[in-house]
Symmetry: C5
Subunit: 356 residues, 5 copies
């Protein structure tokens, strides 16, 4: 349960002064990987650097610079970067704390955005979440990820090959593009969950077992955690679109509105999935009690037919001396006949009661 | 499950630059059908065109032009149209993505509206949804549908025969009329669902089976998906009525208020249906447990009467040498009498317990 | 189910131009009945007219005129009236459509109000709803009802006998008085429902049957439909009280606030009733399972006592040649004793388990 | 059920003109008791008067006058008072109607407040509600209660002995003090309910019976009705604190904020209690089904052990001529042994299944 | 149950004038402990004082003074302090009443904040709550706690050793730091609860007992009470951040925003935990009914196999004279064979029904 773990780490910070840099989260990477992409409409440059100081010169350049850092456990790197780019201590603290709620904060000369990048692990059939922090400055974007591997590869392609609008636009558009890529990634998760739900529905109809119940509950829990990542996004993007900051240009706002719509769509689908899953729980429970019913019926039919008959047999198994029936020539046959009649009457009764 | 499928397609877009035109949805039609209706109070012209370029001249004409496109999988047509009518790339993207949430966007010189046209398929007893996009310009309306066949036939009639107000009004009134026709279509769906619910209620009272449960859940799911189409409509129409855009004239707003009322009515009815359906689920479940109760009672009555009697018979079936009762002249009769008395006492007991 | 029926009729309108007059609802009356009451502080005149034209002269008179029309299926009358009194086509459309949601619309020179008048049919034990439309003009009020018979008789009395304030006030006060009478009528419905709930509660405690469940659900459904009539009223009256229209005088607003309070009280009571009814459902379900429990206990006690005893009897009913016990002098007595002891031990066990 | 009764009375008013004085409620007192307390910082005067006219002179006096009327069924008194103190007819109507929802109304020269005074009847273990109306004027407060006996005794003491701030302050502070006393009374109710809930919890753990269920539901119903009294109070006090009326002085507002906090605390506790009670319902239901489970297990164990054994005994009780086992020397012993082995195996099986 | 106890004490105050100082709560300490920390950027002084008067001189000093009082049952101390520091009587009343809802009140020259400090008692596995009141003045902060021991030790360390920003900032920053420490403490609680939930989940899967249910409900109740402490915090911190008071400096607001985010995170986690716990309740209930199902199946299988066989045995145990089968040579063998066949057929039937 990721939530419990996150809190466990979080408490290490309790009581420390705000702005104290403590990495809260799992160390997912040996040493951080830093890549720099610098571009404008004409030029494009991409390189992987080994020391953080190599990217400092880009701060002054008029071109847009995207510094991406994979791995945030090396506090010294974050500190140096923060010092050079003049980031507020609270930004640095938030970057390191991987249990952040998605949010967007406007610090005069920077806009800090933190959100969850989700990916689906096909092997373990679980959703993996990674925290992505974006710092938008006048002509740079710095992105922080917990580990190597992200959903931004297509954006890098578009930058490299000057596809779409991105090379022509400023750093705010790049920020939008990164957020959009993250949100687009949610659709892939929804797709997987949709398939899961579909297959569970078929299973429910065909043959519900207690394993089905466990699957229902695991999907339910995934939806709870997905919801926690997605709901704050609405506010985040809204905040970004409505900020008074000059860092977000008017022309970018229409794109933010678009990604806002996508977010609403994701939320809608999550809520629909929740409705469906809780409907499935109802079906499961009533199919269980239907089954119980069927079992009870069989028991009742067998018992109510044979118990009286056994009683009759018991009566004629008694050893009384004076039991006239026992001496009759057709006594045995008569008793068998009576039994048969009783059984038939009972079967008819059950038939009328629709138990058969 | 339409939702899962939609998401599956949606993920094809993940990572592409915004404004990239990718058709997301099923290809419901071989080649798109384009019809143009051009009118003002005096003139009326209607024709089906084969190439999209034929409708370009209408852009300049002072008359109102309604271009309707059935089938949106041919991206080149959408692109050319977008280019000529100067539509924002995000509009074009949204038109092609059939998983849109109903919404209304104001792009300075256009208002883009997307909503779901629902129809009821009597054969499969399911609701079919089709996405309708409306682009309102100064003197034109462009509508995009996924396939041939819509709820707009009566509007075409009114245009042809100059019935009602529509020929006297501008393009905003036509947009209203189209939205109104879509909302009116919802009432037909509600009617069908209402009938279904009514028949299910009768079934519930008469003879609830596990099939009833499945029907309840299928209606529940239809209501969930209907709700998803209808709720955003409120905001959509409200947005349209309150937009500052000069494209919506003052005189049209009162009509938008009217269709807004209809939408609220649809939402109200959907919510009432939801309440009713979940009430039916309760009835179903308690009727199941009532049944179980009845079964249990029969079992208990039979068992509790005959088990003691069988025991008595068993006792006198024992082979002990010294069992004085066995030699009595009236022993057998006495035992039978005792058994009868026990049975009668038990029946009276059950009677007082109201189990009979 | 009224809702389904309403929708059925409503769909007849789908696609017609707005303002097209189609009567949607049941035809509850043969021919409409029109009554006119004209009054000011000094004068009072009341008459039943046979053609709608007879009421036209009152439009100009400075006195307050109340035109009441029972029966709205005769479209021509509504049309003529609308023409003379200059009513907006959408008002006329709404009057004829009996599936309206309660609302209040401000059309410059008229205020249109539509609400549900409820009455309780003691015979069928159901709530009957009738749509009442009120058009408030400068010096007239026109009210439309579906059939003869209403809750306004006391207002007519007050007008005839100059009781209370009503003859001294303008048409807005009359409108208020009519709305107030409708809302007062809701208290009678609540009273009936309250009695029903009370009697159901007694039944629940005394002897819950599956019929009780059906009654609970019927009350639940009545509350759902009552709620649908009452909730929009809040907004309606609020809208009326806060409208900028000069038709509503300042002095009337305090009375609207009063009827607003009554509406809130009705809503509160409806919500409380809903809470109580759903509480009763819980009680019903748990009383059912309590019963099941009791049945199971009896079965278990009887079975667990006699099954082992019957086994013992069975053992000594076996026909083995060498069964020494069978020859013992006190064998039979000993076996009976053992059986009695076993039975007593079991009874004590059940006693400690509190099953007896 | 108080609610039903209230509505029954309420309907007597249906159709009467607003402001018509009809007493709605139970007549709790033979003849009204009127007491007058007149005070300022120096002077204090307290007397019981027999005719309402005796208190009229106080209207002009600059001192603060508190007129308290116990018993509101004598309409003439209310009318005379209303006439002299110039109270709006709607205030008088509301005072007489004991089914009011707590509210606060600002009539230019008066502020009318109505709320519920609750007391706990230890004998019947129920909450008794009494309506208290407060009319705040420039230098007087008139309070109306349904019967003698209230929570204001300590305020009278403070007035008599000049304790606290109350003698130094104006009539608005007295109004605050009265409201505060009513709200403080709620804490006593909450305490009683808290004790009830605590004792129910112990009962639930120790030995849940169907009586426990009834107690849970009675507390639930008390919480529903408490909630109905408390929720509107928030709005009431807020309205009082934010009114623009000069009757409420700035210095009193901070005290209103304080009583507002108390109200929120009461609401919070009521909601927490509701949560707890519904949690108890869950525990009750699952303890019932746990019990059922236990009963079923015993039945199953007994039955599954003895039914096969009885069958074996039955086989050797058959009277076939050629049953070789019957003649064996150790046949009987062998069968007994086999039976014992079967029984032991079954017991072990149940052990592994954790049924024992 | 803490809530009930709190209310019990609270009612002691009913009817007393506002501002009357009565200690409501448990007396957790023998005699109050008072510590004073006085600091600015250069100086630091910390001492424990024995009489409250010793701290009075600090009021005038320009340095920031933090007076911490552990133990609030000694009313005279609170009164003297209130007198000297000019605190509003309502502040003093609230400090003494330990049942306060977290809130923040702005009294011109002071800001009063009250919140709950939570700690986890590992022995009893319960959450302990202690009320902390903070009074922020121009250059002092007074904090009141119920007992010795708090979460502020690290802040004292930071003050002593001049770590972080706190010595450089004014009293408002100290207030923030104290609130932040309290909120950080919540994460520790969440961590403990998260562990509990995790271990319960494992238990649920492995072997659910009625003790698991009790644990689920105890966690549920802890979440209810945690929620009650946390929800109002949002409003509190928001109020603090948005107050117009000059006591909160602009530079501190960004830190308040940060602690606000933490609060939201706590609330989110509490809500997620609630969702998870109620999901676990569902799992528990369905695992119970699964078990019942399994029990029923075994009973049914055993009973339905052996009851018919026992009947057959009973038939041939009858003592009729003329039962030809009894004399047959292979009669016994044939009957045994028939019985075996019946048993096998039944087993196959159960197999196809998936009951085995």
């Amino acid at each position: 349960m990721a939530t419990a773990k996150q809190n466990k780490k979080r408490s290490r910070k309790a009581g420390l002064p705000p702005g104290t840099l403590v990495h809260i989260g799992e160390k997912k990477l040996e040493s951080p990987r830093i890549t720099v992409i610098d571009y404008d409409e004409q030029n494009f440059q991409e390189k992987e650097i080994s020391t953080i100081e190599e990217c400092f010169p880009f701060k002054q350049s008029p071109t847009v610079t995207w510094i991406n850092i994979d791995g945030i456990h090396d506090i010294s790197i974050i500190e140096k970067l923060g010092g050079h780019f003049d980031l507020h201590p609270l930004i640095l603290e938030d970057i390191l704390n991987t249990g952040q709620r998605p949010k967007c904060e406007d610090y005069d000369n920077h806009i800090y955005t933190v959100l969850k990048m989700l990916s689906y692990d096909d092997k373990s059939e679980t959703i993996r979440a990674e925290q992505v922090s974006l710092v938008l400055g006048a002509n740079f974007v710095i992105s922080f990820q917990e580990s190597v591997g992200d959903v931004f590869e297509q954006i890098r392609d578009r930058l490299r090959n000057d596809k779409g609008r991105v090379r022509k636009m400023a750093s705010d558009y790049l920020t939008y593009a990164l957020i959009d890529a993250v949100v687009d990634g949610y659709f892939i998760i929804l797709e997987k969950l949709g398939e899961k739900i579909e297959s569970m529905e078929e299973q429910l109809v065909a043959e519900p077992t207690s394993k089905t119940l466990q699957r229902i509950h695991s999907v339910k829990r995934e939806l709870i955690s997905l919801r926690k990542s997605v709901w704050p996004l609405r506010e985040l993007i809204n905040g970004l679109a409505k900020t008074g900051s000059s860092l977000i240009k008017e022309s970018t706002r229409v794109y933010l509105r678009d990604v806002y719509d996508h977010t609403i769509q994701v939320i809608d689908t999550v809520e629909t999935f929740r409705d469906m899953v809780s409907g499935m729980l109802d079906i499961y429970l009533s199919s269980i009690s239907n089954r119980m019913n069927a079992v009870m019926k069989v028991l009742t039919i067998i018992a109510t037919i044979f118990i009286p008959l056994t009683f009759v047999a018991g009566v004629y198994g008694m050893n009384f001396k004076y039991m006239p029936e026992l001496g009759w020539r057709w006594g045995y046959a008569a008793v068998l006949l009576v039994m048969a009649v009783v059984a038939v009457i009972m079967l008819i009764y059950f038939k009328t009661k629709k138990w058969l």
